[in-house]
Subunit: 253 residues, 2 copies
């Protein structure tokens, strides 16, 4: 577990995860699936801290629990110490605490939120109204509302009662309820957003793609997890320069 | 990323992985699925080094490439430094190099091989002939043949020509061929072992469960990955004492 020696070498990816653990496994699978390889050894090295002990993000953002910021900062610093040279996080809502992470490391941190909002524009030209399947804390912190507005896009939200149904579903996924039994409920929530005028749907919570597939939705479904995986492969292989948002605030020691 | 302070606390699991990366994601998903939880925070913390750069185990065991031992030892030591207190590895064949790992750390290392052989006895009393879906290096190193023989069980192997078909399939999985397209071929190999007299089948390679489910096989299918996940949850929560094979050779510093 040693860091890359040169600027031209491939990055070692570090994943701040465990929120929940199945979503982190999903990102790890997608990081492999998104990398074209001719040998096993061409796959990217990924260090993962899957730490489900991180305090609940939704409760913290509702003022009902401790901030996960310090734990996330420790995890990020630990991944950097272990050799990660490019970080990402397998939880959309936790990006409300991304400043704690950026302050704790001297390696780049790629935002799932910024990348997904960019992808809405890039992959769905013409779409204006983006339906958000997102956790309550993510909405409360306005992570996607702000990122979409900055790009001239409009968020479409669930009605409050249906959002509560989404929130319950989300926690059932985290607690190992059989995914097959949860799929119809998630598909119904996606349909609500289509009925409310969404041109494109965004799986803006890493639990969503565990129980929702594009085939189940009547509009394009952008998976923020898959999109992050594709972007991380691209950046780790230095096929594209890192976006400004990812650049470290703190110079390397 | 700090180690547990007391002997009574839950373990932090460390996974030596990346061989291949999809198989490691599968183990991570199974570690979550195997843990009964009432809150997200009750899930186990897992540190993963998914390092596909590990030299090819099958080639090394055929005398046709460098040993993965030193890299595996470095990964294990890195996981221990990062705070892991209980190690496992998401690759059956790589267990041929488990002594390199055990020599590099002072924390327990749970063997997927020993656990799967135990499970054959425990879960399938009466079964005597165990069909092995295993990589060529795993067979060459006689990891399962020895572990099964020590328990009075008899391995059933594929005919050499069919084993070569298995080997090719295995590498296609590692290189991201669509799993759905590979399922019929893996099911056919499983049927060959049933025809050869296997009472129970052992998915003795971590790529196998990615393309084979119990429903596709006419005999009980024991998944060494799922079994390892269940055992790790049990040991990490200290619900059962660690087996002798897992105890560290080197005392903690």
């Amino acid at each position: 577990m040693t860091a890359m020696d040169t600027d031209s070498a491939e990055h070692v990816i570090g994943v701040i995860g465990g929120m929940g653990p199945q979503a982190t496994a999903d990102l790890l699978a997608k990081l492999a699936a998104a990398a074209p390889v001719a040998t096993e050894q061409e796959h990217l090295r990924v260090l993962v801290d899957s730490n489900p002990k991180v305090p609940d993000r939704n409760r913290a953002l509702a003022g009902d629990g401790p901030s996960p910021g310090p734990v996330l900062a420790d995890m990020a610093a630990g991944l950097e110490r272990a050799g990660a040279t490019l970080l990402a996080m397998a939880c959309n809502t936790a990006h409300a605490f991304d400043e704690a992470i950026r302050s704790a490391v001297s390696v780049p941190f790629v935002s799932m939120i910024e990348e997904a909002a960019d992808a809405c524009l890039r992959q769905h030209a013409g779409a204006r109204r983006v339906g958000l399947l997102a956790a309550p804390g993510c909405l409360r912190a306005r992570l996607y509302q702000s990122a979409l507005a900055a790009r001239g896009l409009e968020p479409v939200l669930l009605h409050p009662e249906r959002q509560r149904a989404f929130d319950e579903l989300l926690y059932r996924i985290k607690l190992n309820h059989p995914p097959a039994a949860l799929r119809p409920a998630m598909a119904a929530l996606a349909r609500d957003l289509v009925d409310a005028g969404a041109d494109v749907l965004l799986a803006a919570c890493t639990e969503v793609p565990l129980v929702l597939s594009p085939a189940e939705v009547e509009r394009p479904l952008l998976d923020a997890t898959w999109n992050l995986a594709e972007r991380m492969v691209c950046y780790a292989r230095r096929l594209e320069p890192l976006p400004d948002h990812a650049l470290p605030r703190r110079a390397a020691a």
